[in-house]
Amino acid sequence: MSVVSDLKDSRGLLVNLTLREVRGKYKRTLLGQGWSLLNPIATLLIYTLVFGFVLRVPVPVGEDSGLQVFVLFLACALLPWNFFNNAVSSGMGSLIANANLLRKVFFWRPTLVVATVLSLNVTFAIELGVLVVLLLVFGSMPLPWIPLLVVVVVLLTAFALGIALLLSIANVYFRDTQHFVTIGMQLWFYATPIVYPYQLIQDQAARMRAAGNDFPLETIYRLNPLERFVSVFRAMLYDNVMPYWGDLLFCLVAAVGSLVIGIVVFNRSQHRLVEEL
C-alpha cells in the first residue's frame, strides 16, 4: 500500500514536524508546557463547579474502585474528549496554517495533519499520566489497565486523525467548514456522556417507554463512537473493570473506518490542494 511506504519515507519529517508543534506552541510563555496542563485543569474546575455543585449531576460509584468523586469521573471522559476536540480542530486547520510550506516544498501532505494530531498526543499522554497519579491518590487502581489504555488511545488517535484528514481537505475548499465544525463539536460534546453519566440517558429512555413512546433513544445515542470511547476510558480508569467487548469492537471499527475514509478522501482531493490554498 502506497500510504504505508509514504508514511515510512516521511518518518523523519513527521518526527520533526511533531517536535515543531510541541516546542513551538508554548515558546516564550512563562509557564511553557505547564499551560498544556493548566488548560484542562481550569476546564475541569469550571465544569465541576457548574455541573457538580450547581446542577448536582449524580456521581456514579466506581464499580470496583468504589470512587465517588465528580472531578475524577469528569476527567476520565473530559481528557479524551479534549484530545479528540483539539486533534480535530487543529488537524483541520493544519493545511491552511502551513500554506506557505505546501506552496514551496513537496512532501507527503498528510504528514502535516498527522504531526498536528501526534503533537496533541504528547499533551494527552502527560494529562493521562497526571490523572492516573490522582486516581491512585484517591484509591483507584488503574495501573493494570495501562496497556489496554495505550491501545485505546491509539484507536482514539486514529479515529480523530481520520476525521481531521477529511475536514482538513474540506476546509481548504470550503473555508466555512471550520465554523460548522465548531458548532458541531459543541453538539457532539453534549451528545456524549462527559459532564453527566450515561445513567441519565437510560433513565430518560425508561421514562419514555413508560409513557408509551418507543423512540429508540438509547440505540441512537449509542451510535456515537465517542460514547463508546468515553465508556471504555471510564471503565478502565474510574471503575477499574474490563470494558465491554462490544464497546472495544465498536471503537476499533470506528477508528479503522474513519482513518480509511479520511485517507481515501484526502488522496482523491489533494491534486488541486496547493492552488486552492
Binding site: 519529517l13 518526527v15 515543531r20
Partner: protein, 423 residues
C-alpha cells in the same frame, strides 16, 4: 552516467481556475447549486522537452509565461491537468528559502526541521550540520530563535540547508540573488561543484547574463507554450532580442519621426524642464545609413541628432546628452563645451549631431536625455528626460557581461586550443 534524461516533460498542460467570486463559502456554493463559477486559465499548454542528466538547464520567458508553474510541476507541488512529468532520482526545489522555518525555534532546530522537510534523514543532517552552519556563516547565532535573524542570515541559512540536500535534480527559482557578494560567490562555487558531480540543475531566472554563462541548455516559454529548446546562449540571445523588440515598439511610435525633416507638433514629452527660449524639438539616434533607428548592435556606428527651435536668438548655448540604462544607471554624459565646440549663437531651427564611431555598449536597453544650456552650464533652456529609447543587441564585438564593451583583447603566452588548431 546513463543517457536517460533527468527530467522528461511530456505534453504538460496546467489549468488554473480564476474564480469570479473568490469566496469559498458553503452558502455561496449552495445558492449557486454547485462550486463557485470560474474562468479557466491555461498556464501551460502542451509543453514537451527533455532535460539531459548532468546539464544545467534554464527556463526563460516573461513574467506569466509559465516558467514557475512548470518548475512547481516538476517539483510535484502542482499536478498538471494533462501530460506527464518523469524524473530520475531525487528532486529538491529551492523555491523560497527558509519556507518552513518556525520563527520561535532556534537555528539548530530549524536546520533539522527544514532539512527533513526537504527530505534529508536525521543521520545525514547530523553529518552535514557543521557544514551547513559553516556555509551560512552564522555559527554565533545558531542557538538563537530564527525570528531574531536578519533577513540575510535567514536566507543564507535557508539556502545552506537546501543546497546540502544533495539531490540528483535541483530546481532553483530566482534564489541566486541571496546575501552579499561573498556569499553569492560561495553559492556559485556550490553550483559548479554540483555540475561537476554530474547533477542536474534547472533554473528559472530573469538574470539573462548569468543564465547565458551558467546554463548549457534552455527552454523558452511564452504564455504557456514552448517557443524553443536548445543551447542556452543562442536561446537567451534570441529571447533578449525578441523581448526588446516588444519593449521598443511603443516608444518608437511615440517618438516623432524626423527623417523627412518635418517638425512634429505636439510631440509627446516625457519630462520637460527649462525657460524655453530654445526648445528641443527632436532627439534621434541615426544608424550608419543616417536613418533613425531603435536597435543597434555592439560596435556599430551611430549619430545622435538633436533638433532645436528658438523663439529668439540665443547666445552661446551648449548642448548636452546623457545616457542611462533602462534601470536608471547613468553610464555616460557629454556636452558641447567639453567636446570643444563653442557655439556663438543659434537662431530659428536647426540640428546638431554627435557622431559616435563605435557604439561600445553591451546588449541592453538605454534611455537618452538631452538638454540645451547657457554657456555657464547653470541655466537650462530646455531639458528632455529619457526622450529616446534604443536597444543594443549582440554584434560583432562581443564581450561577456556588463553594459559597456571595452573592446579588450586577451593576450597570453599560453597554449590555447585555437592557436594549436591554426598552427
Amino acid at each position: 552516467m546513463s543517457s536517460t534524461p533527468a527530467v522528461v516533460v511530456d505534453e504538460v498542460s496546467k489549468r488554473f481556475r480564476l474564480y469570479k467570486e473568490r469566496n469559498q463559502s458553503l452558502k455561496a456554493a449552495l445558492m449557486r447549486g454547485g462550486r463557485a463559477s470560474y474562468d479557466e486559465y491555461w498556464a501551460l499548454r502542451g509543453v514537451s522537452f527533455e532535460i539531459p542528466q548532468g546539464s544545467t538547464f534554464a527556463l526563460i520567458g516573461e513574467n506569466g509565461s509559465g516558467k514557475s508553474t512548470l518548475l512547481k510541476c516538476i517539483a510535484r507541488i502542482l499536478e498538471p491537468e494533462k501530460g506527464d512529468i518523469r524524473t530520475q532520482g531525487t528532486v529538491a526545489a529551492l523555491l523560497e528559502l527558509g519556507s518552513g522555518f518556525h520563527p520561535e525555534l532556534s537555528g539548530r532546530e530549524n536546520v533539522f526541521l527544514n532539512g527533513s522537510i526537504l527530505g534529508m534523514t536525521k543521520r545525514e543532517l547530523e553529518r552535514k550540520f557543521d557544514e551547513i552552519v559553516d556555509f551560512a556563516g552564522i555559527e554565533a547565532f545558531i542557538d538563537q530563535p530564527v525570528k531574531n535573524y536578519s533577513s540575510g542570515m535567514y536566507m543564507r541559512l535557508g539556502f545552506s540547508v537546501a543546497i546540502n540536500v544533495d539531490p540528483d535534480v535541483l530546481l532553483v527559482d530566482e534564489v541566486l540573488a541571496v546575501g552579499d557578494a561573498a556569499f553569492q560567490e560561495k553559492c556559485m562555487e556550490k553550483f559548479v561543484d554540483f555540475r561537476r558531480a554530474g547533477k542536474t540543475v534547472v533554473i528559472v531566472s530573469h538574470a539573462m547574463g548569468s543564465m547565458r554563462t551558467l546554463c548549457d541548455q534552455a527552454a523558452w516559454l511564452d504564455r504557456g507554450s514552448l517557443v524553443e529548446v536548445g543551447r542556452a546562449d543562442q536561446i537567451v540571445d534570441r529571447y533578449v532580442d525578441k523581448s526588446h523588440e516588444k519593449e521598443v515598439a511603443p516608444s518608437s511610435s511615440a517618438t516623432p519621426a524626423s527623417s523627412d525633416g518635418a517638425t512634429p507638433d505636439g510631440a509627446p514629452v516625457k519630462t520637460r524642464i527649462g525657460s524655453g527660449e530654445a526648445i528641443l524639438t527632436d532627439v534621434t539616434v541615426l544608424d550608419a545609413q543616417g536613418l533613425p533607428a531603435n536597435r543597434f548592435r555592439t560596435g556599430e556606428q551611430a549619430t545622435i541628432r538633436i533638433s532645436y527651435e528658438c523663439s529668439e536668438r540665443v547666445e552661446r548655448p551648449a548642448f548636452a546628452l546623457a545616457l542611462d540604462t533602462v534601470d536608471g544607471m547613468r553610464i555616460w554624459a557629454h556636452h558641447t563645451r567639453d567636446g570643444g565646440l563653442d557655439i556663438a549663437y543659434i537662431e530659428g531651427s536647426g540640428h546638431i549631431d554627435l557622431a559616435i564611431p563605435s557604439l561600445t555598449l553591451q546588449p541592453y536597453t538605454f534611455d537618452l536625455s538631452a538638454r540645451i544650456l547657457d554657456h555657464t552650464l547653470t541655466h537650462t533652456y530646455d531639458f528632455l528626460r529619457h526622450c529616446y529609447r534604443f536597444v543594443v543587441e549582440t554584434g560583432e564585438l562581443r564581450e561577456s557581461g556588463g553594459v559597456v564593451a571595452l573592446g579588450g583583447r586577451w593576450n597570453a603566452d599560453l597554449p590555447s586550443i585555437a592557436s594549436e588548431a591554426t598552427v
